[in-house]
């Protein structure tokens, strides 16, 4: 696999605040890389340095494998919407391609192909503001693809979307990946990243706290997490001596076990109190790992 983008020790300060404090990572061609962290962790600042909006105070951002102008290699989808409401859909798409240096009949055909594929053909002459939020998101996404970018950067692509549209975006990302495109996905939704990403970069307070291939990251934390689905009142699970930390939501518990604890003891404790539907020892979820890394008190404010 070849590296598309290499970010090395970048620093960005705003006044006294070190928003990004020596972040390094690489993005491999044909993968989805998840840039994870809380709001304010430094994700957007990092992205803005990559897109050339900010200059880093230190460190380097290197584009590899092409002589194209770095700005034209990026397809950037900002958080929420980044479209002119008054413009017509197709016209807007052509404008987005043009500011990336692409125009002419190739782009027009490509835009038309995408519009048909995303079932927006009927809406090509509608104003952006007349479209539903999900459709606007689709238009925005086409806009990031038309100029054939080397790297698609998506900042919180699912924020503010309903479950149906979230699913839509998720499927789109999968399709794009299957086409061999490279995606940098910034999000604070751990579950989403877990579903989508090949590699993750976990950022906290401007620093990378964890990075690597997602499976490797999870395996490195061992199988010390117990997933239990049940019927009954499971509040007592949190109090068990083997449990270090618990997340209990709607008859499903995710328990982090203390070192060396035997899950069998927990199963025994549930007998007669809960009706067990699932009992699984697994690697921790990204959310668990995140808590492990940045502290539980931080997690409270995320949820």
């Amino acid at each position: 696999m070849s590296v598309v983008l290499s970010v090395r020790d970048v620093v960005k300060t705003f006044g006294d605040v070190r928003a990004v404090d020596g972040i390094s990572f690489t993005v491999q061609r044909g993968t989805i890389t998840g840039l994870l962290g809380r709001n304010g962790a430094g994700k957007t600042t990092t992205i803005r340095m990559i897109t050339g909006v900010f200059f880093p105070h230190a460190g380097s951002i290197e584009w590899l494998g092409s002589e194209r102008d770095a700005r034209d290699r990026i397809g950037y989808l900002p958080e929420e919407r980044g479209l002119y409401r008054q413009m017509k859909v197709k016209e807007h798409l052509l404008f987005l391609a043009e500011i990336k240096g692409r125009r002419g009949s190739d782009v027009v055909q490509s835009a038309e192909r995408w519009l048909k594929r995303f079932e927006l053909w009927d809406k090509r002459d509608a104003k952006v503001e007349e479209l539903s939020k999900g459709n606007q998101q689709k238009v925005q996404l086409i806009g990031t693809l038309l100029h054939d970018p080397d790297l698609i950067i998506l900042d919180e692509p699912q924020s503010g979307l309903d479950p149906v549209n979230m699913l839509l975006v998720r499927n789109l990302l999968r399709e794009l990946k299957e086409e061999g495109r490279t995606i940098l996905l910034s999000t604070h939704m751990m579950a989403e990243a877990e579903r989508m990403a090949d590699d993750i970069i976990l950022v906290h307070k401007g620093k990378v706290v964890l990075s690597g291939a997602i499976d490797a990251v999870r395996d490195s934390f061992g199988k010390n997490t117990l997933h239990i689905d049940y019927e009954g009142d499971g509040a007592f699970l949190e109090q068990l001596p083997q449990v270090k930390r618990a997340m209990i939501v709607n008859n499903a518990a995710e328990l982090s076990l203390v070192e060396g604890a035997d899950p069998q003891g927990i199963l025994e404790a549930t007998i007669g109190r809960l009706r067990i539907r699932r009992f699984e020892l697994a690697a921790p979820s990204l959310e668990e790992i995140f808590i492990e890394q940045v502290g539980a008190e931080t997690m409270e404010s995320i949820r």
Binding site: Y76, M87, E98
Partner: protein, 441 residues
Amino acid sequence: MNKMFAVIKREYLQAVRKKMFIFMTIFFPVLMAALFIVPGLMVAKGLGGKKVAVIDGTGKLQSAFAHHLEPAVPDPKKALSGGNRGQLPQSIDVEYRDAHDQANLDAAKKPYLDRLYVDRKSTIGLDAVLVIPANAFEGSDARLTFYGRSSTDPFTQERLASVTNRAIQRQRLTGRGIDSSDVDTLTREVPLDSVQLSRSGQQKKGGEANLIIGFIFAALLIIPSFIYGLETMRGIVQEKSERIVEVLISSMSPRELLTGKILGVAAVGLTQVAVWLTLIAAVGTFFATTAMMAGFDISQFLRPMVFVYFALFFILGYLTFVCIYAIAGAACNTDKEAQQLVAPIQMVMMLPWFIMFAIITNPDSTLSVALSMMPVYGPITMFVRTLVSEPPVWHVLVSIAVSLATICVFFYATAKIFRVGILSYGKRPTIPELWRWMKVA
């Protein structure tokens, strides 16, 4: 370069397709003309039919007020162009009351004054009461008194004062044994025409037409700058609030973006001016003949140089204003904040408009000359000067040079503030903060 062109194209097409542009281009000149000319005509037309009671303490002026006072000048246009408001076409119904046998005029006028409060449409309603004291002929301190519901009726006042005075003078003269037919000849007034001489020796008969045309052109020059300036500001605020700017800035440099935007907006302004000048030229030539018959010599304003100057000073003023609004847009996150930031600046920018009267009436005064060579104020003041007077060529050149320099400086500052401000989503910066942004960027 191509990216900048994409921005210019987008800005231009989006703007000219808006209803606002069509409205401004087609209806605005008509509206402006209507705004200045119609009130004049309405004043003229609406003056008719005043009901006035005259309480004559001398008892000798009945003949002067015996009949309905017909308009002195029947044609309103002629009256306006003559510049003599006293001659406006106004008819007055006089109710004459001989009060020379009344010891107390106050008692005599009382019932009439009460009638001022009655609805003027009823038969006993009155618009005004004129009281002529008993000593009007002899007393050196005698004064006529005019009672009205509103004190702002100078036309009726002037008219009554002049009628009364003429009648008194007449009787004084006939009292000295002068034949009444001679009195008319002796007291005949000579009307005044104002003629303006330009350096080229051209004669202009302006009067109030000068003022009206000056205001119309000044409005055409300045108002679009404010409107499109505001549009530009809103556009930038919208780009910020909807994060479009991040997409733009990830594709081109802020300077390319700003240059594209301003050139796009400038193209919109030029299109508008081109349409206006064509309209004015077409309509102007058509109406010039009609207008001239009414006493307006419009053709004197339709010199080719006026068109050149208009286009030139329009674009200079326009770009200056657009830069100022672009700064406000880049600095703020909401329309409301931006409006608050520009409101005081706008007042300062409007200065020439507020003193337009002084500039038009004294186009070569120190004030006018100074303003015409100042940044921001230069374009509009200089244009008005070229319209109503003929300033020396070097004045015009200095003004153009100052404006160009101003635009360059503003553009430079805007580009710097734009660089910082366009991505800041915090609270609205103060002016010192803006200054700091300019230095750090």
